[in-house]
């Protein structure tokens, strides 16, 4: 989804479709008219090849671990939502002012909560999130141990005899008879 998913999507898709049709049909002035309307609503991003490529790289690295709240399955680095552009600009400015990554992460979570972090911190409310996979693994191993132990205790007669099955080839390589 593009700019301002739930905010603007009510009007934008139709407008985009009409525009596409107008452009495809070669209506003169269609694209010229559209440009100011689009750029009025869309903040334009500072040229990324700007003065300091190192700063830009740090900004993108940090933006890649922050969630865009408008398009929640995208990072701030990926998203073209207006808010993501603004937040990239915020990161850029704060890095330029000498803030470090931890301070900027803190700035973001004070405003948007832990949800903005793709890697949430470990605390009481996220313990299950972090430990859940381990608990599931432990549970599965425990279950396996119980089953194996129970089988070990069973009378051997309870199992089917472990004879090779001569009647059927058990692999495609087995010689046909």
């Amino acid at each position: 989804m593009a700019e301002g998913c739930h905010v603007a999507s009510r009007r934008r898709p139709l407008r985009a479709l009409l525009l596409a049709l107008a452009c495809a049909s070669g209506l003169p002035g269609a694209s010229a008219q559209a440009a100011p309307a689009a750029s009025a609503a869309l903040p334009t991003e500072a040229p990324t090849a700007a003065a300091d490529p190192a700063l830009e790289a740090r900004m993108m690295a940090l933006a890649a671990e922050l969630r865009c709240l408008v398009c929640q399955n995208q990072t701030i680095a990926d998203s073209h939502a207006g808010l993501a552009l603004d937040l990239r600009q915020q990161i850029r400015e704060q890095l330029a002012q000498g803030q470090d990554e931890a301070q900027i992460r803190d700035y973001m979570t004070r405003r948007y909560g832990d949800f903005v972090l793709y890697k949430p911190p470990f605390k009481a409310s996220t313990a299950l999130l972090w430990l859940g996979p381990g608990l599931l693994l432990l549970g599965a191993l425990g279950g396996l141990a119980v089953v194996l132990r129970r089988r070990q205790a069973m009378d051997p007669a309870a199992f089917d005899p472990d004879t090779p099955d001569d009647d059927a080839p058990d692999s495609p390589d087995a010689p046909a008879r």
Binding site: G4, H6, V7, A8, R10, R11, A40, A41, P43, L69, V70, Q72, G82, L83, D86, L87, Q90, T109, R110, R111, Y112, G113, D114, F115
Partner: protein
Amino acid sequence: MKRFLVPLGLFLVLVGFLAVGLRLDPREVPSPLIDQPAPAFRAATLARPEAMLQRDDLLGRVWLLNVWASWCGACRDEHPVLLDFARRADVPVYGLNYKDQRADGLAWLQQFGNPYADSLFDPQGRIGIDYGVYGVPETFVIDRAGVVRYKHIGPLTPAVLRDTIEPLLRQLHG
């Protein structure tokens, strides 16, 4: 028989989780600002570029901050509800005109009516970022001490006002 009960039980647990999950709205991200002081701002108002409004001007009373923009479709749906609320409520509603053009915002109020005691003009969305705004419209309830008490994301509805915001306002007025 018993061997079927375990998978059935697991299945029911899974159904339970999914049923709860369906009711959750992933867009409603709980705001970390609840019970925190409202972020400070000092900005020009929409109607008068030379008039500055700041957070501390509003200390000492309960007020609502409603984030809106002329480009926001859902704001138009919300607007009659807000107009009606502003007419009968005894708390002021301040607007935050978010990432908008001044002329567009003023024309919008002209056309649809103005429920706001005043609107802050935030063309760059800086105040919006400080308030963690990500989906316009949003509404904050701020108490006498300048603490954010509630945040509603998306358009206000009569039900939200009746069941949540108005009881909270009564409580804040003590």
